[in-house]
Amino acid sequence: MEALLLYSAFNGLIVGIFYALMALGLSLILGLNGVINFAHGTFMALGGYVAFTIEPYVGFWGSLVVAPLLCVILGVAVERILIRPLYGRDPLFSLLLTFGLAMIMEDLIRTIWGSIGQPFALPNYLNTPLSNSLFFLTGYRVVLILITALVTGALFAVLRFSRIGIRIRAGNADLETISAMGVNIFFLRAANFGIGIFLAGVAGILAAGQLGLSPSIGSQLIMPSFVAIIVGGVGSLLGSVLGGLIIGIASGITAAFFPVAQEVVIYVIMAVVLVARPRGLFGQEGLFE
């Protein structure tokens, strides 16, 4: 019983990692760009597919670096060409734009790579359990946790200590003022969007190794990622990460004891949070209450 609970919580943690990485990027983009990026899931899928295509040339580890960067190039182009004209308008405009973009991109993926899933192969040494008693701890799962910790840590370090990170945080607080102080906010928003897409790309590759790589992989993960932001609190990056992990673990434990409810439980948590503490666990007061 305790063992099953432990295994299930751990499974949930692994799924929660994907939610957390996605939510982190979504949250960044929502903060500075003011865009609810519905295309985030398809950028994630794109990361997985690009990695699948370049893996034979650069290897798994190479693809983990190169594929997200390629996504960033596309992401910044999208921000510059499509999203930029919509800044300052009602957020509904950019929401509809990214919603349509998500559909177009998913169909593009289907056209280029086919609607049948693709075999994204992991290096053999990652694809086996570490030991027989700890069979649920495969090499890949350990790598997943390490990479996520590394990426999240690096992001927080950038935001805390680098010039651009400090500007992003300042822009979140008051965009007009830093603009008046001479900061190029168009560049800043493009950079911020790029960082968000980078996180989506990384999540896509990690997910392609753990789950199957199919065109709809992103749309399966995007809704729980939005929930993660709401649970964690809009405006708080740490909250988004914890929100993702919480709903992942809750869903994992539910899957072991009451499988049909494994998806519902995510939304039940969201409902409870919205009723009891509308700002979310770490959210700023005033956004929703």
């Binding site: 049948i116 789950l211 199957g212 199919s214 709809s216 049909v260 998806e263």
Partner: protein, 417 residues
């Protein structure tokens, strides 16, 4: 000023060019048919998105290829054939509303399609209300040609019973009698599970447990952990499409394949192709296979299909779509009519000619329950298999020897008076 003009000029030129191109393509595709001839319309409702998109795509490809062949040879009753495809998303709700659209807006003469059993059941019901001939191409649940059979519904793919019966004996004799199941939680999975358990109990085996996983599950870890704890001889994975890819991939990551045999009923080329090489394993049943040495016309079919569809071999799904479309054309030709009842009577007992059957023996729609009786192809995935040689057929089992009779399946066809 001049800039605006330039842009609008370009835009007009573009519009004109695209209009011309559109006209040209209409003219060329219609070249063999007089304008007055209205086409015979076949409506196909199949998933282009969702878990079963890959499978649906191949059913569409097969049907499209058949329609092109028909149009080259004079169509149906001398009229051109038009295939109108709608996306079901693999879900019953959207499928029925798309079927509704095909009937009310397009006036389709026949309805075909479905990958998911849940969709097949709904479409069969829907077509029955509209007196429309419906052929279930790829939804397997027994009831469609069993207790819920309809006078207007036929089925080309096999039943879940046939899928479990075809490889049950091989699995039982080879690997042992303690089985654990991971089952998709809807009609198709429940039917497969019930059919296997019935045969297992009869043979003196033991079902150790059954983990029900919702359709579209991405993480199967908790079910695999239950399977491992049960320590069965055989782990039966009853998923299909992307779900089967995920469960097999994760089973191998946990090393379950070194502790128990991994097997199941239905396996498909689409799934094996999507798996990384390490997870291509197990004992399964195919419903049709592209490589059957000595079967007449098969090589030509495979070559033509590969030429059309960037060198991919046809799968069972491609054959379902292909054979179904040709069968409808043959039946309409025999009936000399598009009237539903007359076509149904012609379909009953219709034997597919060798160039369409593309497998040994007699392939026909059984009159008693409208179920296609063809062959099952149990076998296993060889080690280090590469596309397209991903399966090794152990034996070709005529479906007639494993299918339940219409009475056993509980089918009583009731015709409108």
């Amino acid at each position: 000023m001049s800039l605006t003009n330039l842009v609008s000029l370009k835009r007009r030129g573009l519009l004109r060019a695209s209009a011309a191109a559109g006209m040209a393509s209409m003219v060329t595709s219609q070249v063999t048919w007089a304008q007055s001839e209205t086409p015979v319309k076949i409506g196909q409702v199949d998933p282009r998105t969702g878990t079963y998109a890959g499978l649906g795509e191949n059913q569409i490809r097969g049907a499209t290829m058949a329609v092109d062949e028909l149009n080259k040879k004079g169509g149906i009753l001398g009229r051109p054939v038009q295939l109108i495809v709608e996306d079901s998303q693999g879900l019953p709700g959207p499928a029925v509303s798309k079927a509704q659209k095909l009937v009310s807006q397009e006036n389709v003469n026949f309805l075909i399609g479905s990958v998911s059993s849940a969709v097949s059941v709904s479409l069969s019901q829907f077509a029955n209300q509209h007196n429309l001939v419906y052929v279930d191409i790829g939804g397997h649940v027994d009831s469609v040609t069993g207790k819920d059979c309809k006078w207007n519904t036929f089925r080309t793919c096999s039943t879940t019973w046939m899928e479990t019966d075809a490889d049950f004996k091989i699995l039982f004799d080879k690997f042992g009698k303690k089985w654990f199941f991971i089952t998709p939680d809807y009609a198709f999975g429940h039917a497969l599970h019930a059919d296997y358990v019935a045969q297992l109990t009869k043979a003196g085996g033991q079902a150790l447990g059954n983990a029900l996983a919702p359709l579209g599950t991405t993480d199967f870890s908790s079910y695999l952990i239950q399977a491992r704890a049960a320590q069965p001889d055989v782990l039966i994975c009853l998923q299909a499409g992307d779900d089967l890819v995920n469960v097999l991939k994760q089973a191998v990551q946990f090393g379950l394949n070194t502790q128990m045999a991994i097997a199941g009923a239905q396996q498909e080329l689409e799934v094996l192709e999507a798996l990384p090489p390490a997870a291509r394993l197990g004992w399964w049943t195919f419903e049709w296979y592209w490589n059957q040495p000595g079967v007449p016309h098969l090589e030509e079919f495979v070559a033509a299909y590969k030429a059309r569809y960037d060198n991919k071999v046809p799968t069972a799904r491609s054959w379902f779509g292909y054979a179904t479309t040709h069968a409808l054309a043959l039946a309409a030709g025999q009936a000399k009519s598009l009237d539903s009842m007359k076509v149904v009577r012609a379909m009953e007992g219709l034997v597919l000619p060798p160039e369409i059957a593309l497998q040994p023996g007699k392939c026909y729609y059984r009159a008693g329950d409208h179920q296609m009786i063809a062959n099952m192809f149990p076998g296993h995935v060889p080690a280090n298999a590469t596309y397209p040689n991903l399966f090794e057929v152990a034996q070709t089992v005529p479906s007639g020897t494993v299918a339940k009779s219409p009475d056993e399946a509980g089918c009583k066809l009731v015709y409108p008076s």
